[in-house]
């Protein structure tokens, strides 16, 4: 084994003998994963989404097909496990149910909605979806179902209009016949939608995906957040070893300074790999999380650890003392956690802050694991792997130059 790898292995051994460090490396992200999993119902429901029995109120004041279709969808047996629907006649009562936190959302279909849609009325009333801010995830699911139904109706309506206009232009129907044909076509489209609608789970490319498991986002989110702590702590050992005299002792052994630095940097990487790999495997075994393609998962673990280790190395190269690395490392862990999506969806960030997410290993790692968890393959996470590896190369490069320039190794 090369001397660099021996140094790295020694660092890995020491990391796993530090009980306090282990608590933060492994126990903390694992405990947080379990906590969030419990909050989202991942460990209590039978649905893989971790969401079930979402209370929803439906008020159908429409006398037409679309209103009926929406009620039929929300009360269908296909969605029985996901939704717990209640139908009310009064919109005010529905809003009151939201205010009282008795439902995640209320869907109010106004009177005359179907007729307005099918006759292309200029001032068509709108379906109202009242969302409960206390249950954003569940409310989002309800809203997505309504939007899905409406988009199907809209497609059918536009398609019907085009067809009717063509019939009119070619003289196959008269203008008097067009109104009746249009209404019949629209109603047929709406009723068809009711028979086919499901909660579609798709990835960003629109590809039909595996059932989404909330743990494929939560577990990597916390693993990657605490990975930042681990790699900065590992980077700190470079400064600590310099102060403790073991680094100078290494440098008077018959081994090149580049090998010593290489060993220390590989050590940071290995410790990161070990942490993420253990958490991924543990979540898979204990909570039956399906991470997806094993090769792609392994590569993503390596790439995530490499990207994070780059930050750890850079911090170690720039810092003046172990205490400074500790402080900066904790700050970096939290900031990257927020920016990268460890605490929640990055889409909730202001648009101007989104580019900041791209410099975090958290963002690319979490997105990659989520994609793999919904059935994506190696090719689809290639951009994530590329971004993480580019991050690692750039950061390690700057760290090495900085170490050399400061004469630290």
């Amino acid at each position: 084994m090369s001397k660099s790898l021996l140094i790295a292995w020694k660092d890995l051994t020491l990391a796993f003998r530090d009980i306090g460090g282990l608590l933060l490396m492994l126990l903390a992200p694992f405990a947080l994963t379990i906590g969030i999993g419990l909050v989202t119902g991942r460990f209590s429901g039978d649905a893989n989404t971790g969401l079930s029995d979402i209370p929803v109120v439906i008020v159908n004041q429409d006398e037409g097909t679309i209103g009926e279709t929406i009620v039929a969808i929300f009360t269908s047996s296909d969605l029985a496990a996901l939704l717990d629907p209640t139908t009310l006649a009064d919109a005010g009562a529905a809003r009151a149910a939201i205010d009282a936190d008795e439902a995640a959302a209320a869907v109010i279909v106004p009177a005359g909605f179907s007729e307005a849609v099918f006759t292309a009325a200029e001032a068509a009333p709108q379906i109202e979806v009242v969302l409960n801010p206390e249950r954003p995830v569940s409310a989002g699911v309800v809203q997505a179902i309504v939007e899905d139904v409406l988009s199907r109706v809209e497609v059918g309506r536009v398609g019907g209009q085009v067809a009717i206009e063509q019939l009119l232009q070619t003289g196959r129907i008269t203008p008097d016949q067009a109104g009746a044909i249009g209404q019949a076509f629209g109603e047929q489209q709406a009723s068809t939608a009711g028979g086919t609608i499901t909660v579609r789970r798709v990835d960003v490319s629109g590809r039909a995906a595996e059932a989404f498991d909330v743990l494929t986002v939560i577990a990597p989110g916390f693993a990657l957040m605490f990975l930042m702590f681990t790699v900065t702590n590992a980077g700190r050992t470079i400064v600590q070893e310099r102060l403790a005299g073991t680094l100078p002792r290494l440098l008077v052994a018959p081994i090149g300074a580049g090998q010593v630095l290489g060993g220390k940097l590989v050590g940071i990487f290995l410790i990161g790999v070990a942490q993420v790999a253990i958490l991924i495997v543990a979540n898979g075994l204990l909570f039956s999380v399906n991470w997806g393609d094993p090769l792609a998962v392994a590569l993503l673990v390596l790439a995530s650890a490499a990207g994070a280790a780059g930050w750890g190395a850079l911090l170690a190269a720039l810092a003046q003392s172990p205490a400074q690395i500790g402080g900066l490392g904790s700050a970096l862990m939290l900031i990257f956690g927020i920016l990268g999506g460890s605490f929640g969806n990055v889409l909730t960030l202001p648009a101007w802050l989104m580019p900041a997410a791209w410099i975090t290993p958290n963002y690319w790692g979490i997105q990659g694991f989520a994609a793999l968890g919904t059935g994506a393959g190696l090719a689809e996470i290639a951009p994530h792997l590329g971004a993480l590896l580019a991050m690692a190369v750039a950061l390690f490069g700057v760290a090495i130059v900085t170490f050399r320039r400061r004469g630290l190794v």
Binding site: L6, K10, R249, L251, V252, A253, P254
Partner: protein, 314 residues
């Protein structure tokens, strides 16, 4: 006897500060050479250059036929280094530490196992080899610290103030270890600011001060440098100022140098018999109460005092 080390005009500057100002000396194969000087004299900087930790600003040294400037890697294969601080991994056992450091020196397999067993025996820790170093006493850690430097059986061992801050028993053990290693043929470069250690261990001594080698030779040769002078040691009571007494005595005729440390004033004189009465008289005249007087043959402390006007531990 061949030289295992030949240093020529070694210099090291840090900005405006010249830490080592052209030091030259040699160490013969199989001898113990002590580099004696007060704190900040340039001992550690010199040993750091010789061991390849820092590059010299000027000059060179040849160790076992290899230049520290152009062939540092070969030099580092042939030397062992025992740093002043305990440079070990506390969360590894003594055996794991020795294994790791042995591997860094290119040892492996059966040879590494054999060397670890031999070194553990040598430092007296065979029965506690599998305990983590953090559970050891300071003295035990010092012994492992030395053991690391011995693993690859170096031709020349650098020991940088290995007895700083340890108890007398551990200090004794370390000095005995140095002698035992030397008896096996290992050359040793030993830096210290303790005159007694240099006197006990060394075949030859180099005295270094302010980055310059101010004297070099055997203890007899060095003693001759002060021309048969003698040392008077005046012990005064605890409530009196020894520095003030040194100033008084230094002005007397026949007194070469005077230096104060704690409650003792060391005075270098041409003749103790002639100087004793005037020295004691002047002390009494200035209100100092002399509790005791010793007359000593010249030693390394006297030589340093003679050459610099200061005590080694000023």
């Amino acid at each position: 006897m061949d030289n295992i080390l030949e240093a020529r005009e070694l210099r090291k500057t840090y900005g405006e500060n010249e830490a080592v100002k052209g030091v030259s000396f040699e160490i013969k194969t199989g001898e113990i050479f002590s580099l004696l000087g007060p704190n900040g004299a340039g001992k550690t900087t010199t040993i750091s250059m010789l061991s390849g930790l820092i590059a010299p600003t000027g000059g060179d040294a040849v160790i076992a036929g290899h230049s520290i400037v152009s062939d540092s890697l070969r030099v580092r294969e042939r030397i062992g280094v025992v740093p002043q601080e305990i440079a070990l991994y506390d969360d590894l056992t003594a055996r794991e530490n020795l294994t790791f450091w042995g591997q860094m020196y290119g040892l492996g397999g059966a040879r590494l196992s054999a060397r670890i067993a031999a070194v553990l025996e040598q430092i007296g820790l065979s029965d506690r080899a599998n305990e983590r170093v953090k559970t050891y006493s300071g003295g035990m850690k010092r012994r492992v610290n030395i053991g690391v430097g011995l693993l690859h059986e170096p031709q020349l061992l650098f020991m940088d103030e290995p007895t700083v801050g340890i108890d007398p028993q551990s200090r004794r053990a370390i000095l005995d270890t140095v002698k035992a290693l030397n008896a096996l043929g290992m050359a040793v470069l030993y830096t210290t600011h303790y005159m007694e250690e240099a006197a006990e261990l060394s075949n030859r001594v180099g005295i270094i001060d302010h980055g310059r080698m101010i004297a070099l030779g055997t203890q007899r040769e060095l003693a001759q440098q002060i021309g048969g002078r003698e040392t008077l040691s005046l012990h005064i009571s605890d409530d009196q100022n020894s520095s003030a007494l040194a100033d008084v005595v230094r002005a007397l005729p026949g007194v070469d140098q005077a230096s104060a440390m704690d409650h003792t004033v060391s005075v270098i004189v041409a003749s103790a018999a002639e100087a004793l009465a005037p020295v004691v008289g002047a002390a009494s005249a200035h209100g100092f109460r002399i509790k005791g007087v010793e007359v000593a043959e010249p030693d390394l402390e006297s030589v340093f005092l003679h050459l610099t006007g200061r005590a080694l531990r000023d």
